[in-house]
Amino acid sequence: MNIHEYQAKELFAKYNVPTLRGHIAFTAEEAVKAAQELGGSIWVVKAQIHAGGRGLGGGVKLARSTGEVREVAQQIIGMNLVTHQTGPEGKLVQKVYVEEGADIQKEYYLGILLDRAREMPIMMASTEGGMAIEDVAHNSPEKIIKVEIDPITGFQGFHGRKLAFGLGLPKEDVNTFVKFASALYNVYMDNDAEMIEINPLVKTGDGRFLALDAKMGFDNNALYRQEHVHEMRDLSEEEPTEVEAGKFDLSYIKLDGNVGCMVNGAGLAMGTMDTINYEGGKPANFLDVGGSANATTVAKGFEIILKDPNVKAIFVNIFGGIVRCDRVANGIIEATKLTNVNVPVIVRLDGTNAIEAAEILRNAGIKNIIAATDLADGAKKAVAAAKGE
């Protein structure tokens, strides 16, 4: 789960990670009011969407008067912001964060994420603030300094010093930076974060370090114990069909092909998409219906897949282990009665009681159900059906 910049900064504030003052605004009026409350003579108006690259897309603008605040807020709120992370369709901006200006002397990058190979968090810093860290890693990896932090001992002074001296900070700045990094580590661990990215982290003319931007993602498995984080979830930032599927414990991800997929198990679901691709088709979605695959879940699966108008055929690929195929077959028949399935459905059931299942499907005599014998056969038939063959 991801949160907005202004939400991440609220969390930062609780841990004394320094940020600029700012207010959230849903209208240009509120933006002006926010600027007045903040005072000063320069403000930054920032689109709040769950994607990076907002500045380049025109979603972050400087204002030198409250009149300008109103003007840029009007431009940004309601705009369809396209960045390298939103995809070509972009994202509708519903709110802006109005922040006080800062006297920026230098920009850095600071981030924390889980290093899966080392099985502990790593903190990364770079002098290339404002650039995408992936690009820095690719073009000049020597400019990224990394420290791994053993969760058992936690963040130590040396971790911070290694980063500070690595960045070439003057010695009078080292302690301030170490305090900043240490506080950020606490934000990460206490809240079950998956990643934090501050890009840029800035040093101001008066020698302060500030998080100018903030991006945070969280471990979904830990949300049950991070209620304050869960409350920050913004469903309008997520694909509506994926949210709907989630309510029924179905894991669905929309893709841009025309062969719908319904599969049990995440690995087989990905494998089914790959097989469709291999056979010359394009998968319309990822959908894991889980272990039970009963009439209700299958019906819901059909409903969700068919919300996508591109879908021309559906491939149901179930490997019955503990769940028996004959039960799944009955579930599929039941589901076709519950939902109007108007495209060919190719069904491949393998595993426990597969032969009985094939018999049940044949006898049901539903004309748009096509039986398949194995994974390759099912994918071939589904691709052909989607092409109208």
């Binding site: 889980l114 899966r116 969760p151 079950d192 998956e194 471990d219 498995n221 830990a222 998409m273 469709i276």
Partner: protein
Amino acid sequence: MSILVNKDTKVIVQGFTGKEGSFHAEQCLAYGTKIMGGVTPGKGGQEHLGLPVFNTVRDAVLATGATVSMIFVPPAFVSDAVMEAADAGITMAVIITEGAPVKDMMYAKAYATKKDMMTIGPNCPGIITADECKIGIMPGFIFKKGNIGLISKSGTLTYESANQVVKEGFGITTAVGIGGDPIIGLSYKQLLPMFEADPETKAIVMIGEIGGDLEIQAAAYIKEHITKPVVAFIAGQTAPEGKRMGHAGAIISGGAGTAAEKMAALTAAGVTVVVSPADIGKAVAQVMKNL
């Protein structure tokens, strides 16, 4: 022969009396696994499925001599259960539970390693040695005995692969579902040498997926140390970047962890990499023919 578990392996179940724990413990017993009893705090002294229930793992180990624990406790209690097993002298914990917080596993695995306890999972189907011992939730009947070792991040792809291998006239020595979480226990790199050393295993199937770099590490290891033929499939060639594909660890982030890079590394290491998972069985038949 086999790896890690066999007909003599003594197993206890943590979360024994719960719905999932009960159902699968019964299935494992029916398969022939030596389930010795289980642990449910507060229910010590009772009997369940005709077997003793203990309050602590320590009590269970002392009374039964079990060396392996199969864990079914809810996600919030997984790290506690794993650490209790490690503390009690269990040598391998098979963690079936799905949805454990990453931070918890970070601590639990570090503790287990310190106590010399191996872990499998979490969020995995478990481990099975064909016709001898099933510790997990996989349908046992698919795994006919044979000469192929199997390592997989995915449950259903494990069944799919085993089924294809059997349809081609071969069978399985041991199959290990290592799980698809960001932090897991035994992985390819630890399991490959075990299969290499097992005289009964003639070839190895490894199923990977997008996210992380365990498959890349495996490729480097295979190149240097594995002489037996390896067939691999990497799921998620068509997965979009930045989306979590069901498994907590199956995500391409910042352009890293793609199927393409893993397939390239494995191919360069001499592994037979299939593009379609429907070809796993055929590829195994081919490498076995070439032996």
